[in-house]
């Protein structure tokens, strides 16, 4: 009896608290006048013929585990029907971009990001050129989107790697997608390089971590970049892998700064404290991606509408 009484009294007290603070009152958001016209014109934009719409590119940067935030960004793009006419990625950005561009449903992409582990992507090899093989990554991609070539992708896609024999930036947009992505996401020292079309390829992040320029070369009219770079000051450097990734990201961050200036809009998920290897924080990364992208939706819509204003009926 006493227990029942205390149960009821707690609920009554809580209800009173909630009512006092406006928790139980009408909590529906009032209508936002600006959003109403924005959505009106957005519908008008969606109804435009394809050839009258600007080509919107999504550029997904590298950053190891932090890149899982890109699944959250893609979730928002999908929910909001924001156009993605081209995807360009580096490293983890290439992995996420290839899966989305290859037709993987965004809900599956999110689940995948939440449950990602290294054992799904790499296997121990102890070769003289790298501790791990990334062959599993190739198989992982193929299982999800099929053994696709670039021309078979649902959304045009490209990724970036570096040829470590001559330091050349290689834009991969022909041939088998899975191998190209694997090459783009091969961290030096740790993963063995990928032999591909007479080249010896490694992580694109070494030379172009957020390849906005590639999207421009490929004819994008509007470029939205997703930057998942680390806060260099927060990174741990207590083993050789972390030191190596730190060196790579110091360089990558420096190079990205110029690239990001070329983008029309940058989405920066708050994942700066997440280490490159912390795949177990995937859920947190996805949430950060959602929140960052959600905060930019209006801006993206306005940016696009601005380009087509005179074409709207």
């Amino acid at each position: 009896m006493k227990r029942i009484f205390s149960w009821f009294s707690i609920r009554i007290i809580l209800t009173a608290v909630m009512l006092t603070v406006g928790y139980g009152s009408l909590s529906a958001a009032a209508l936002n006048e600006e959003d109403l016209w924005l959505d009106y014109f957005w519908q008008e934009y969606l109804a435009l013929p394809a050839d009258q719409k600007p080509k919107v590119a999504l550029v997904l940067g590298g950053g190891g585990a932090r890149g899982l935030a890109q699944a959250g960004v893609l979730e928002v793009f999908s929910e909001e029907q924001l156009p993605v006419d081209l995807i360009v990625g580096t490293s983890v950005g290439a992995l996420m971009g290839s899966l989305y561009a290859g037709g993987m449903p965004v809900a599956d992409l999110v689940k995948m990001a939440q449950n990602m582990t290294w054992s799904k992507l790499v296997s121990l090899k102890f070769s003289p050129v790298g501790l791990y093989s990334t062959k599993k990554m190739e198989e992982y991609i193929t299982r999800r989107i099929g053994d696709k070539n670039f021309y078979e992708m649902k959304i045009p896609f490209a990724c970036v790697a570096v040829d470590i024999r001559n330091g050349e930036k290689v834009i991969l947009r022909d041939g088998p997608v899975a191998t190209a992505v694997r090459a783009s996401a091969t961290m030096p020292g740790l993963f063995e390089p990928v032999e591909y079309r007479h080249r010896l390829l490694m992580d694109g992040g070494i030379i172009d971590n957020v390849p906005v320029d590639v999207a421009k070369f490929m004819g994008a009219d509007i470029i939205v970049a997703v930057d998942v770079s680390a806060d260099i000051g927060l990174a741990k450097t207590n083993n050789s892998l972390l030191i190596l990734s730190q060196v790579m990201y110091i360089r990558g961050t420096f190079l990205s700064q110029e690239q990001l200036k070329l983008a029309d809009l940058v989405i920066s998920p708050d994942v700066k404290d997440i280490n490159v290897s912390e795949l177990e924080r995937g859920d947190e990364c996805v949430d950060a991606g959602v929140v960052a992208a959600r905060g930019k939706v209006r801006e993206i819509k306005k940016l696009i509408l601005n380009r087509v204003w005179d074409k709207l009926p």
């Binding site: 608290v17 009106y40 999110v110 959602v290 929140v291």
Partner: protein
Amino acid sequence: MKKNIFFLILMINSLFLAGTAGASVAGNYFKEAEQAAKNGDNQAAMQDYQEALDAGYNKGKVALALGGLYARSGDDAGAIKWLNTAQGESLSNDDALQADLSLGKIYYRNRDFAKAMEYLKDCLAIRPKYEEAHLNLALIYRDMKMYPEASLQMDSLARSKKLKFEYCLLKGQIYQDWGIYRKAGIYLGKAIIINAMSLDAHQSLAEVYFQQNDYGKALGEWKYVASLQPQALAYQKMALCLYNLTEKEKALASLLEAIKLEPNDYMNYALGGLIYSSGRDWEKALAQFNRALEINPGSQFALYGQGLCNLRLQKKLQAQISFQKTAELNNNSWMGSIAARELNNINGVK
């Protein structure tokens, strides 16, 4: 000697009895005060509490009770005074918790988040798993838009059997405000399973579906909300769902329901204008925007709509006036900027 011992015993006895009688009188006053408070007779309760205090009842307990009484009657200054008095006495853990929690809630109500958090954290110092303190801290963090912290506080309630509904609802609403609609939907759905009649949960879920552009599900939720509590806003939201589902006639019918409830809400007409505009029925759209502006001449939304309709009806001069007013209302806003752009187009300025 025997006589002396007899008198000594008699004296001790009478002192003891007097003390017991005093305690009993004070206790009675306190009980009466509690009863009066329960009956809502605050005046009598205050008087009895004072009597209890004068008769020597535990000062901490009386101050705590008076603090609660003042808080319930909305006299926050009085409540704070008495609760601080209570804290100055040696209180049991339970009483100290009650004092801290009450002070936390009062400061929260008065939007003094720093002080509210101080007291609520004091509660957790006494009892780390004190659910009410976690819940109130979550509400504060939510109001401060510190969603990860709010969510973390809610995690302390995850295993609460008593507060399962409150946990799911507030956790869902935190995710909703945070913009993580997928997770918001999961928690709000769970809240509805526990309490299918919760207006709050259905309303929040309707918003979440709407934000996810899932208009069919949003419409279902708004219909349910309107059936639980008819309100113009619910019908307006239903109209927007139907408009997005290209069911324009039904959308207009929903606005008529909203008008019945709130005939002077300009938004009922402004939304009508929007719906007619999407169907290119500019005359009807204009009439709706004009009506909205009669009610609220300062609506930038309706002014822009008026300008757009006039422009499409080739009434350039009227359009110019409407766009001019729209831009003047707030030229830093997006609506101000698109109105300025239309003005430039009309005036042939590139």
